[in-house]
């Protein structure tokens, strides 16, 4: 069923390169989209999908590479030139104007007579079988309706190339079904669609072609009919598995039968996740995997008291700490190394010393009414030496350190409160290999000191390497649990994408 050469080519990108600073995000991407195709684009977090789409949309400029629309070379310097070329992107979170009506939202920025446009919209909607009151305020629309409004917006512009970025991520089951009907209709009308998704079943349901991106390269590409799920999973695994050196630290197995968990989560629900239960034992590293949007970050924020708990209980060391404020959670003995160290972790224009002691200033050991400078320095020295943080002196500004050293400072800050449970959210994102090894060493050391560690990472290798046990979150719930032996890339990837069919996870 290979769809082939008789189809008109809509879009072709050739050898697209893009880097942000020293970080190579896209490394020579080739991609093709013909009339009436749905190209499902899948890939893990940080694979470069959205960067590529933003380049096609004219929001970013590529460093190198060419884009052809209808076989004509185009230069897309801003969003309006991409729109003029017939490209329209429906972003993952619909970007409507909440205070305007549906009609105004669709016609905004569009040239043409209001009454004619209105008729055209009504025509368009009936041709794909929807009814939507054009005079409703956009703020009253459900997420599904908002997505539909976005699509009509694109169609009214006579977009021939539609980019849908995870359109079903916020839709309910019924909405997904009717949404698929719309996509199929559009496909039959000859519109080319790039369909970004994290859900492999959707690839087979709706896609005609599939491309897999991994670390900025396309690892697999072709008509959907030539692949099965197993092959897609293989494509999602990183190709170069050797590049990370292992650290030789012998880890003792944990005696789960005789140790009581230090942290227990029971039927925990909040905004973005449901009924999550798991335990973490002292001296254990529990890996938590899942794709972006699965609810990992929301889960952690809620445990840490930054968002409201809806139901369930959190128990730390036998004490119920459900629903406490961040300050109280911190005092109780949980600390968080946040995912985004620039915005939530580091005090950039403060010294290394001030950063490390920042979480413990209300404790007695740092002085009474006035802070004891010497104690602060001693504590800072301890972490600087232990973690091998490269500083000229403790007074150096934290913002002037390299990424890896910044991360060590943030970890130091979190550990200075002597927590019973440390939550590490993406601890090695954006830091170099040497610093990564240091961070791993720190994690192992903590483990041997009996601290419980919850390790969240998009880098599945990291979880394979470090975790004693691992769980995966999919669509806001835990869908699988693995022992150290079962924690292999294959299982974790499948479970993250929601297609693991092994033993049922229940703890």
């Amino acid at each position: 069923m290979a769809k082939g050469d008789n189809k008109k080519q809509l879009l072709r990108v050739e050898k697209i390169y893009k880097s942000f600073g020293s970080n190579l995000v896209l490394q020579g991407i080739d991609m093709e989209l013909n009339e009436g195709e749905v190209l499902a684009l899948i890939g893990g977090n940080g694979a470069g999908k959205s960067t590529l789409m933003k380049i096609i949309m004219g929001i970013y400029q590529s460093d190198k590479g060419d884009i052809y629309v209808n076989n004509k070379h185009v230069h897309l310097a801003k969003a309006s030139s991409a729109l003029a070329a017939g490209i329209y992107m429906v972003p993952q979170e619909p970007m409507l104007f909440p205070n305007m009506t549906v009609e105004e939202n669709i016609t905004m920025g569009f040239k043409g007579k209001q009454s004619e446009l209105r008729n055209k919209i009504i025509e368009l909607m009936s041709s794909i079988g929807w009814e939507l009151d054009l005079d409703r305020n956009a703020s009253s629309l459900s997420i599904a309706e908002q997505t539909l409004v976005e699509i009509i917006r694109g169609l009214l512009r006579e977009a021939k190339i539609l980019i849908l970025d995870e359109p079903t991520s916020a839709l309910t089951f019924d909405e997904v079904e009717s949404f698929f009907k719309v996509v199929k209709d559009l496909r039959d009308k000859g519109i080319g669609i790039i369909y970004i998704t994290h859900r492999l079943p959707e690839v087979f349901e709706i896609g005609t072609h599939v491309s897999i991106m991994c670390d900025g390269v396309i690892t697999l590409n072709g008509p959907v009919s030539e692949f099965n799920r197993e092959m897609l999973i293989q494509g999602l695994l990183p190709s170069n598995m050797e590049h990370k050196e292992k650290i030789d630290i012998t880890v003792e197995a944990i005696d789960y039968k005789n140790v009581k968990p230090v942290f227990e989560l029971k039927d925990f629900s909040g905004y973005g996740f449901n009924n999550i239960s798991f335990n973490v034992y002292p001296g254990e590293i529990l890996g938590l995997a899942g794709v972006v949007g699965a609810g990992r970050t929301e889960l952690v924020r809620t445990i840490f008291g930054c968002d409201r708990t809806l139901s369930g209980t959190v128990i730390l060391d036998g004490k119920d700490i459900t629903g406490l404020k961040t300050n109280a959670v911190l005092k109780a003995g949980i600390n968080l190394v946040p995912e985004d160290r620039h915005n939530h972790g580091l005090f950039k224009i403060s010294s290394v010393c001030e950063n490390i002691t920042a979480s413990m200033l209300d404790r007695k050991e740092t002085g009474g009414l006035l802070l004891d400078k010497k104690v602060e320095q001693d504590i800072a020295n301890k972490y600087v030496n232990d973690f091998r943080i490269k500083v000229t002196c403790n007074e150096q500004l934290a913002g002037s350190l390299s990424g890896g050293n910044q991360q060590k400072v943030v970890i130091g800050k979190s550990l200075s409160t002597k927590p019973k449970l440390v939550i590490l959210d993406e601890p090695t994102r954006g830091i170099d290999a040497a610093a990564r090894m240091d961070v791993y060493r720190i994690i192992h050391k903590l483990r041997s000191q009996g601290v419980a560690i919850l390790l969240i990472s998009s880098d599945l290798e990291e979880i394979v390497e470090l975790a004693d046990r691992s769980i995966t979150v999919f669509n806001g719930s835990i869908n699988a649990e693995f022992t150290r032996e079962e924690s292999i890339m294959d299982n974790l990837t499948k479970a993250s994408f929601g297609i693991y069919k092994g033993k049922e996870a229940n703890q």
Partner: protein, 341 residues
Amino acid sequence: MSLLKKLSRARWLSSLIFLIVLFTITGLVNPTFFTYSNILSAFNSSVVFTLLAVGISFVIMTGEIDVSIGATMGLAAAIAGTIAQRGGSVVEMLIYAVLLGLVVGAINGVGVAIIKVPSLIFTLGIMGIVRGFVYVYSDGRTVENFAGAFTNLGSKELFADITVYYSMVIVIVLVAHILLTRTRNGKNFIAVGDNIGGATLIGIPVVWTKISAYMLCGVFAAVAGVAFASKYGQVNIVAGSGYEMSAIAACVLGGVSLSGGLGSALGAAIGAVIMSSISRMLVFIGLSSDYDNTIKGIMLITIVVADALMHTRSVEKARRARLAARASNHNSAEVGSSDEE
């Protein structure tokens, strides 16, 4: 039906009702307030505020702020004053005013939209600079002793006791209102304030929209300066200072949301009438007009706080609905038939 619907969406209508309520209360406390000429002069005397408020409503609509309008107005008034001293024409004054407004507005716009300095800080700095120019320009002295009929212009009545100025203002407000609600470019201001990311994605020139909002705002402020000079017959070196607060408060009272994306020029004009009537109403109620600024400040804070609370609540509600939809997906899609307890 559709007319009713449209009216219920018009936020300026509730401001108008508020204005009527205020007038009624004042009238009940002191029945002498209820004369034709009193009510009319409430409108006639709001010319300066109305121009300032309508101008700044463009900027506020895009989600920014401009606190330099009082100073711009003061400088334009001083320039108009010196032209009046040598008997120059109003047209000449207006040409200078428009030029001044465009320049100050363009500088503000570039600073906020291109250099991306927070608008409060940038326009605060510009306010200082422009106010400094007023001192230098008028040598620290009050500009007065205007020649000719310039000062009488404002009080000349055109029809039905409505002054020339207020009739002009009515026209300007209506034009601005139609511009904002009925034209493509006008709607861009609202779109940018409503959702700047979405506006970029559908190809609206976000930077240019913000710059032009500031330029319009500057022009309105400078023209208000000409009206100010004519109305008072003299221009003090601190003329217009503090007027930015009244103009912002007028916008907010008129239903322009400080988070951007909501409101209309008509609303801002009604808000301006409320603002400029407060001191008059205080007198009729029997309170000292010294309370004027305090009451304006309280009104501003009350409405802004209420507005901000509603805004954060609706954003948070939307975020939670989105997250909940995401998480509930699993139950229906994966578990399928098994019911939740």
